[in-house]
Symmetry: C2
Subunit: 215 residues, 2 copies
């Protein structure tokens, strides 16, 4: 279908730590390279193998604070003494060029995106149930019981905001969940609000037809 | 994905005469027999081969008027001296049993459905452009030029209501359009408003986890 509205779709993906949203998005991008993942800006130093402009935009603290002051960030937060944020221009450019852009962000940041991009689609990724989340977090084997419980507590707090999202993706099976996410994103292109111009054009063209021939 | 909300989805499909929505829905039902097409009630006599309860519910004028008076119809209209309407109980029963129900109805009737079933999904089927519609209507060879122009005029009037629909399906290629409609309907099952119970359950379960172990 030719889309009259060429602007890309902005997709915000959030979810509990351990719900598997990182893996899900990586697999979506591998299967469908047409999607663009937003690249965050950060003040932390690059780790081995990380590329500027691909993994992150690595910027100085001074530059980051200029971006904050100049409203150049859609959302930002500070973790362990470093800033992380979503550059607005980069997302805007990709959307204008017609690319669908995925933002993988924390729930608090996600809700700020709604103010700036009310047309964005909000997707929440959840495990099938709390037990599965607990098992996944425990199974990583990298965290103490206290850390696992802290993550579960945070998930419980975050779950309060689930109703603010448009869609729920229960990540029970990776390949099925990728397929559902893909179908969901493609369906969003059919949204009538993206096709106001089409509706007006066809109306005008239909009117021309019968006005031309009617006595 | 196990859907906690077992109620089926109500899907209202409208579109211009000649847009191919009948063929589209038939093909969808052939490929995915899990969908249910709402059966209309009518006072007109059955034609050869038509089955009561399958093609229509054939009822007397008296019975139909009782249904109107008893608010048993979601919408109804009168054409060429006969009543046609959508029985409410039949749709309600199928939705309650967890079936997705498709209503193929005229635009005016469709907007009435919104009052009764605000959670319904509204899909508008359109041709790629006005020229294609004119060619399809002319190509049927069954109608005079005046009749074709009358249909185009009606389509122009109906196009006014397109923005009231949730999604636009441009029917450019039957099999692609069926696939898009299928993806759209499956995606609607992911809608957060269908999963409020899931959000509450997982929240309660997460709370139990850390409350149990926290000092």
């Amino acid at each position: 279908m030719t889309e009259k509205n060429k602007r890309g779709l902005l997709v915000v993906v959030s979810g509990f730590s351990g719900a598997g949203k990182g893996t899900l998005i990586r697999e979506l991008l591998r299967q469908y390279p047409n999607y663009r993942l937003s690249v965050s800006a950060t003040t932390r130093a690059p780790r081995a193998g990380e590329e500027d402009g691909k993994d992150y935009f690595f910027v100085s603290r001074e530059r980051f604070e200029e971006m904050i002051a100049g409203h150049k960030l859609i959302e930002y937060a500070s973790y362990v003494g470093n800033y992380y944020g979503t550059p607005r221009d980069y997302v805007e450019e990709m959307l204008t060029a017609g690319n669908d852009v995925i933002l993988e962000i924390e729930i608090q940041g996600a809700l700020k995106v709604k103010d700036i991009f009310p047309e964005a689609v909000f997707v929440f990724v959840a495990p099938p149930d709390a037990e599965t989340l607990e098992q996944r977090l425990t199974g990583r084997g990298t965290e103490s019981r206290e850390q696992v419980l802290a993550r579960l507590k945070r998930a419980a707090e975050e779950s309060r905001w689930m109703p603010d999202y448009d869609y729920l993706l229960v990540n029970d099976d990776l390949s099925e969940t990728v397929a559902r996410l893909r179908a969901l994103l493609e369906s969003q292109h059919l949204s009538m609000r993206r096709h106001r111009a089409f509706a007006e054009e066809i109306r005008a063209a239909l009117n021309r037809f019968y006005l031309k021939e009617e006595k």
